[in-house]
């Protein structure tokens, strides 16, 4: 027997001692992947999450009508039109007021000039 053979045997023994019991079974199970029973349990667990009366809750939720796409578009268009109209109206109004104020100022200047005998 070679001197290192004993050491090799010791090493193999130590390595083998690291393996849990049922190692071969474990390897085979890992290699095979999940058993059909695991999949079945997964489906059952999923199904068990639904509370009683699920179908009725779905139908109730469906009855709560969502606005249709066309009605949403129409609402957006109406809102845009109202905003545009408001902006144009305010712009026109402020321009008109500004013009009136300017004209009034000019009128006042003209009146004062006439009072002083100046001809503008």
């Amino acid at each position: 027997m070679k001197p290192e053979s004993h050491a090799w045997q010791q090493l193999q023994k130590q390595a083998a001692a690291q393996l849990r019991t049922g190692f071969a079974t474990q390897v085979l199970r890992t290699a095979k992947g999940p058993e059909p029973t695991a999949w079945r349990r997964l489906r059952e667990r999923g199904a068990a999450q639904l509370r009683a009366g699920f179908a009725d809750r779905v139908l109730r939720a469906v009855r709560i009508e969502l606005p249709s796409f066309s009605s949403q578009v129409a609402f957006s268009a109406a809102t845009t039109a109202i905003c545009l109209f408001a902006v144009l109206y305010l712009h026109e109004r402020s321009t008109r007021l500004e013009n009136e104020r300017n004209l009034a100022d000019w009128q006042q200047v003209e009146d004062e000039a006439q009072a002083l005998g100046l001809n503008l």
């Binding site: 997964l42 059952e44 667990r45 999923g46 999450q49």
Partner: protein, 181 residues
């Protein structure tokens, strides 16, 4: 639908398309558990299941009149379920970017279940490591969908499905750590 024949299913679907609420209700009752199981496999979190399953069926009710072939109902329903789950997972991913602490809440351990919960947890854990598209393929296969149906559901060819399914199964095995017996 566990016990309804294809003809009866087609009749139910036609009834639902005409607005028959009894038919709609029967379809929901017949499929709710299968869809919930699929949603659970896709999300691997139990607290999403009822909400997402409800979303799937609301979409179903609103769109059923546009289904051309009543015989294609199951494939169509699972396509709705797959897309709803993938959208939810995408939103969740986005939310995680903006709410970094949300992830902590998502990682709350699932409530303890039956005696064999370890095996289920191992499967859930392995599924959670996969891409949602791969999870969908595995869940559809476990649901009993054929590769032709899976191709229709995902909008790809059968050859692509075969390759992806094979890869997804390999990845699942890679991540699957069965409980020590």
């Amino acid at each position: 639908m566990e016990s309804t024949s294809p003809t009866a299913l087609a009749d139910l679907v036609r009834g639902a398309q005409q607005g028959d609420e009894v038919a709609l209700r029967e379809i929901i009752v017949n499929y709710q558990h299968r869809v919930a199981g699929f949603v659970y496999a896709m999300t691997t979190r139990s607290h999403y299941v009822e909400d997402l399953t409800q979303q799937v069926f609301i979409k179903m009710v609103r769109a059923i009149d546009r289904l051309q072939e009543p015989a294609q109902f199951e494939s169509w329903l699972f396509r709705l379920a797959r897309n709803t789950c993938i959208d939810q997972l995408r939103r969740q991913k986005l939310r995680r970017i903006f709410l970094p602490f949300g992830a902590e809440h998502e990682n709350i351990p699932e409530p303890a279940g039956a005696v064999d919960a370890e095996e289920l947890d191992a499967l859930r854990h392995a599924l959670a490591q996969l891409r949602p598209q791969d999870r969908a393929l595995l869940a559809l296969a476990e649901e009993g969908r054929s590769q032709v149906e899976m191709a229709e559901i995902t909008g790809t060819s059968v050859a692509v499905i075969k390759a992806r399914l094979h890869r997804a199964r390999e990845r699942l095995r890679e991540f699957y750590q069965p409980p020590h017996s």
